[in-house]
């Protein structure tokens, strides 16, 4: 108590005496975010956090930027901005921590990769590379824990929350017991689409999507919602299972005799939708095609570590890797679509002399081997898939229909009226949905903690964000519980790591309570100890430091 009084007293001292000790006043900081209308939760979080920062004597302006300009500024003008709200979305492949661990914070990605905040720590680089190459699960786990602790110390981000995915369905149409919840994704997942059982005459899953996908082809990633369709239309050698771990899918067996070799045995009797058999040549082709003359840039990153692929028998192939890669099964084998060579080899040959890339190709009747087939895709209205009853893991439903409904309110109304029977894409207020379920006994709501996370990115290229104490202090004052309760309406968990509790093995339990400092008074002390000075309520740099950075405009 006494110490508290003393430290408070120091702050209450008239500024005049301290002014000589202080450097320049810190410029007004601009916190970028999406407009309230586009992302109400993020916007409100920004407001709450800006309020907290102001208590440290920092002048903060919130600046909403519309979608495209926002991306342009954050990704392509990396010297320009101070701090921004941002998010990493959950994808099945992110169940393995490698992708985010490596991409987000390794300094090699700072110039134009995913390390858009410019975080640079050689020790972290070492840890990230070591976990990537470590095939022993326990040792790799220890490395991931160390990495989380290091980021907790350095605070390159102000982590906010891990959101819950909230979805709903009509439980008089679908058997609740047939839903499969995938770790970090929830019941809106591939496993549910295959497993879901109708209770009555309605055998079509009709779900909504708030955004239109781009074209569906095995070498294009058609956006978040489009991926729900492409994941069940094209088979992959492996899939991320409900438990978050990769399991053989179109492969019967996957073996890793040593760190850089993967042996695969292909499942027998698979057929393309044009009647041709799926051969080992198709599998080899699918693994090497993204490298053809830069013609599939979206998938190229996933094959970059492949040195060679060779068919070793009628159903077997061997992949040689350039380096040991712990996440290869998830990040590559569970991601690359099996594409028919007899269709796509000619297309790639033709593309060689054209400026287009493979993503832009739209087949009239896409040929695939997965549990569903494309019947029709009018991208502004709906995508209609029908079950492939010949598939070895065939679904019990007849059709899978995704309606494009940009209006959240309308998709809620459509669920009530029965126009859709699965509310798969709900960007609205979770409380409204839960109220609906309370008043309507037919509606079941399901929520699952997401793999993704929301955060404030601090641009470490620009002072004072290059200062460790400053970052620790502004992170310490973020009231993550308030963010989860009010900004996200209770549908989120406080976060202090990029690894979600949804993937329990890798998540450092309790890290959310270990933010350095952790409250306002401690944050003030961190700043004071580092030489930052309050003058007339405004935070100044330590003695001798000039403000040379221009405010965002």
């Amino acid at each position: 108590m006494k110490r508290l009084v003393v430290s408070m007293g120091l702050f209450l001292l008239p500024g005049a005496g301290l002014a000589q000790e202080a450097g320049d006043a810190i410029r007004p900081i601009t916190l970028l975010t999406q407009p309230q209308a586009a992302a109400p939760q993020e916007y409100q979080a920004a407001q709450i956090i800006a309020d907290a920062w102001r208590k440290l004597g920092v002048t903060v302006n919130i600046r909403p930027l519309p979608g495209q300009e926002f991306n342009q500024v954050i990704w392509y003008q990396r010297q320009r901005w101070d701090a921004t709200t941002w998010q990493m979305v959950g994808r099945p492949e992110r169940a393995d921590p490698d992708e985010l661990t490596y991409n987000l914070f390794v300094s090699a990605n700072a110039a134009n990769g995913y390390d858009f905040v410019g975080y640079n720590n050689a020790e972290y680089d070492r840890l990230a590379l070591a976990q990537r190459q470590e095939l022993d699960l326990d040792k790799r786990k220890a490395l991931i824990m160390q990495a989380q602790e290091l980021i907790n110390h350095d605070q390159p981000y102000g982590f906010e929350v891990h959101p819950y995915n909230v979805v709903a369905y009509n439980k008089t149409v679908w058997d609740p017991k047939s839903m499969v919840s995938q770790a970090g994704i929830g019941i809106r997942c591939t496993w549910t689409w295959i497993n879901i059982k109708p209770l009555g005459a309605q055998k079509d899953v009709i779900l909504n999507s708030t955004a239109p996908p781009t074209n569906l082809n095995p070498f294009n990633i058609p956006g978040g919602q489009g991926s729900w369709a492409s994941e069940i239309v094209w088979d992959r050698l492996m899939r991320v299972g409900p438990d978050g771990l990769p399991q053989p899918w179109a492969a019967e067996k996957v073996e890793r005799p040593d760190a850089t070799t993967v042996n695969i045995t292909l499942r027998k009797g698979m057929k393309w939708s044009d009647g041709q058999p799926v051969t080992i040549d198709d599998a080899v082709f699918s693994l090497v095609a993204p490298n053809f003359a830069d013609k599939a840039p979206m998938y190229k990153p996933f094959v970059q570590n492949i040195a060679s692929v060779e068919a070793t028998g009628p159903d077997t192939l061997t992949i040689k890797l350039k380096r040991s890669d712990a996440a290869f099964l998830v990040s590559s084998l569970s991601k690359l679509n099996l594409a028919p060579k007899h269709i796509w080899q000619p297309i790639f040959d033709d593309l060689k002399n054209k400026p287009q890339t493979a993503e832009s190709i739209q087949e009239e009747h896409p040929v695939s081997s997965g549990p569903f087939r494309i019947v029709r895709a009018s991208l502004n209205q709906e995508i209609v898939l029908e079950a492939n009853h010949d598939h070895w893991s065939h679904p019990t439903i007849n059709r899978w229909i995704m309606r494009i409904m940009p209006n959240v309110e309308a998709s809620l109304g459509a669920l009530k009226s029965g126009e859709i029977n699965f509310l798969a894409d709900y960007t609205g207020d979770p409380e409204v949905l839960k109220d609906l379920a309370k008043s309507d006994p037919d509606i079941a709501v399901s929520q699952a903690l997401d793999i993704g996370f929301k955060f404030i990115a601090y641009n470490e290229r620009r002072p004072p964000f290059d200062n460790l104490a400053f970052r620790q202090a502004i992170s310490a004052v973020i009231d993550r519980k308030l963010l989860a309760e009010d900004a996200w309406g209770g549908a989120a968990e406080p976060a202090n790591s990029w690894i979600s509790p949804a993937v329990g093995v890798w998540h450092d339990k309790g890290i959310v309570d270990r933010v350095p400092g952790g409250n306002l008074d401690a944050a003030k002390k961190i700043l004071k100890d580092a030489g930052f000075v309050l003058v007339d309520g405004k935070l100044h740099y330590p003695k001798g430091v000039k403000e040379t950075t221009e405010a965002y405009h």
Binding site: P355, N380, M405, N407, G413, K416, S417
Partner: protein
Amino acid sequence: MRRLIVERLGHLLLVLWVIATLTFLLFRLMPGDPTLNFLSPTFTDEMRASLLKGFGLDKPLWEQYLLYMGNLLRGDFGRSFLQNAPVSAILWDALPNTVVLTFVSLCIAYAFGIVAGAFLAFRRGGAVEAVAIPTALATRAAPDFWLGMLVLALFAFQLGWFPTGGAVSPGATTGSLGHRLMSGDFWWHLCLPALTLTLFLQGLPLLLMRATMLEVMNDEFVVMARMKGLSRWSIVMRHAARNALLPVVTAFALGLGASIGSNVVIETVFAWPGIGRVLVQAVQGSDYPVAEGAFIMIAFVLVVMNTVADITYALLDPRVSVGARR
């Protein structure tokens, strides 16, 4: 009369050419990188350059312009950035939906407006007018998306009488326009957007009809007819209404052109797959070829309907001839 039509068509071509050129310049000279949507941070500079080349954005401006005008004459609007389908296919798919929505709504709005307007002219002054005219004006003063959302909230969410959006039920085969027009499902989905648009559109014909009726009723021939002892109602129906219709019919043609462009908001609220929604989505997603194509198409419809209205007016009204107009 022939000279008038030829002259008007000449003006039409000139305006179309200027608008096409303006559109081209608008889309080419603005800042921003249209390929941004395709780029991921993992792309190299070469990939970026190859994408630009793929969309023909590496050529000099004049070359792009010639290419663009040539393509436009052939009805080729290029390819969508996002959907990778020809823009013309996307537009031709959407335009009929917009035309049906607009045409149906206009017909109802004008039928109602003509009758109500005639009635109001008949009952000039008094309480009916004091209520009816501000009401008619207020529906026009309300933001149409707000009106649409109220309609949606009441009839779709609360009462559940009508679907919440789209043009057909999930999974229903969409088929050709003729096929669609024959299906009850399509008309069922049309109800709410058409109701909203009708509410928005009815004020104009109503007020126009009332005003011209009042004017015509003071004309000599009506006064003569009255002196001949014809009943008031038959005078109104047989003489006045027929003459008052002229400006209303012309307004219809103008309204068709104008409202195809202003439907963007209502189509968005009701997820109606028309050309307005295509434009909004393209603009929101920075799909410039689609935005450009949709814009030109809407503008062309507007210009053509303006000319049709001009010519109709001239044909119906003998007082108008070239040179002496206005």
